[in-house]
Amino acid sequence: MKTDDLISLLAGDAAAVPRGAASRQIAIAMAVGIPLAILTMLLTMGTRPDLAQAIHLPMFWMKVLFPAGVACAGLATMARLARPGVSARAGQWIIVLAILLLWLSAIATYASAPASQRAAMVWGQSWRSCTVSVLMISVPIFVAAFLVLRRLAPTQLAQAGASAGVLSGAAGAAIYAFHCPETALPFMAIWYVAGIAAAAGIGAALGPRLLRW
């Protein structure tokens, strides 16, 4: 086929593209993935029994809002990486700095605590299940993010996959906070972040395989 024939073929298929079509696809994916993730948490582990009292504690909101903020940065980064020729550096820096800040506060909390309480701050009662639970809750959002990335046009596939992982891992962590009974910042800085980092790593590994176009 001559290039000119291809061009008239393509020109004939030129239906109007609504403004914001790509953003709408991302929004739909999140509108499906996030409720499914919440449902996963509710059906497999349920909310913590003392949720009604916990919502008065600042640490509860820290565990919800910090990952939610990271998830928003992950979403913004993914939305930019999904479009050719757009830089996503700012979003990537925000994610890294947010996690560094969390670690610094966690280290300060740990260092100023009496030695007898330190182990409990790190291990809590649920360190074995925390990271795995975060990952499990993040699966529907991860799948939705990858499906929508396939319809868009990421050109840096590992980075795009990692951003989908940060988004889903962090959103999974925010949802998990409604189940999680822990109260220490160091616990969150280790095990929540481990869940987010694992999701990001899986995304970075799968991106080049699943997102090519």
Partner: protein, 195 residues
């Protein structure tokens, strides 16, 4: 080989503005503007890829076609406030790296590309024949996609005529063409991996 190269930096800025306007009208559904856009774009892509594929001149036209298909199928990812140059360059670069990577097998690729965005600085209307025949790939599509493309686009029938001839509804003909181009975009890429 005669080539028509226009290489000035102010020219590139003018090309950006002109192509941006045509593309924008194309995104609003104006076929003629979109066709003009693709026509000019293909000339710039050809010059750009020719300069970077100097080792494989035969591949240039194939890659021009693959880029055009990719840009068409992914045109909803363009944001009108973004420089068109950056969008076009990122896709051309992505497809070029994909091709070079498939050529070098699984070897590590030393990125041969500079980051200059001068994709609109030159153009070449001198199309050589594509080595990989898209018509051949077209034959691998399912009938519901292939027949509308062949009748409407390659034989020049109207959508209505093709619909009557094929016993399909007009919207099925349009959907068939649309889906067929998406499938073609995917198979074009896979065809690299065969060789």
């Amino acid at each position: 080989m005669p080539r028509t190269n226009e290489a000035t930096s102010s020219g590139a800025a003018g090309v950006e503005a002109e192509l941006h306007a045509l593309f924008q009208r194309g995104l609003n559904g104006e076929h003629a503007a979109y066709q003009a856009f693709l026509q000019k774009l293909s000339a710039h892509l050809r010059a750009f890829l020719h300069r970077r594929l100097f080792g494989w001149p035969d591949e240039v036209e194939d890659l021009v076609q693959e880029c055009l298909l990719a840009m068409h199928n992914k045109r909803h990812t363009y944001q009108s406030e973004q420089p068109l140059t950056a969008w076009v360059h990122a896709i051309a670069r992505y497809k070029l790296i994909d091709l070079l990577r498939s050529k070098s097998g699984r070897e590590a690729l030393h990125d041969p590309l500079d980051d200059d965005l001068a994709i609109f600085a030159e153009s070449s209307t001198d199309a050589s024949d594509a080595r990989r025949d898209l018509t051949g790939l077209l034959e691998t599509l399912p009938d519901r996609q292939r027949l509308p493309i062949e009748h409407v686009k390659l034989r020049g029938l109207s959508v209505t005529e093709a619909a009557v001839l094929l016993g399909m509804s007009e919207s099925a003909v349009k959907v068939g063409i649309h889906r067929g181009l998406k499938t073609l975009g995917k198979r074009v890429r896979l065809s690299y991996e065969d060789r």
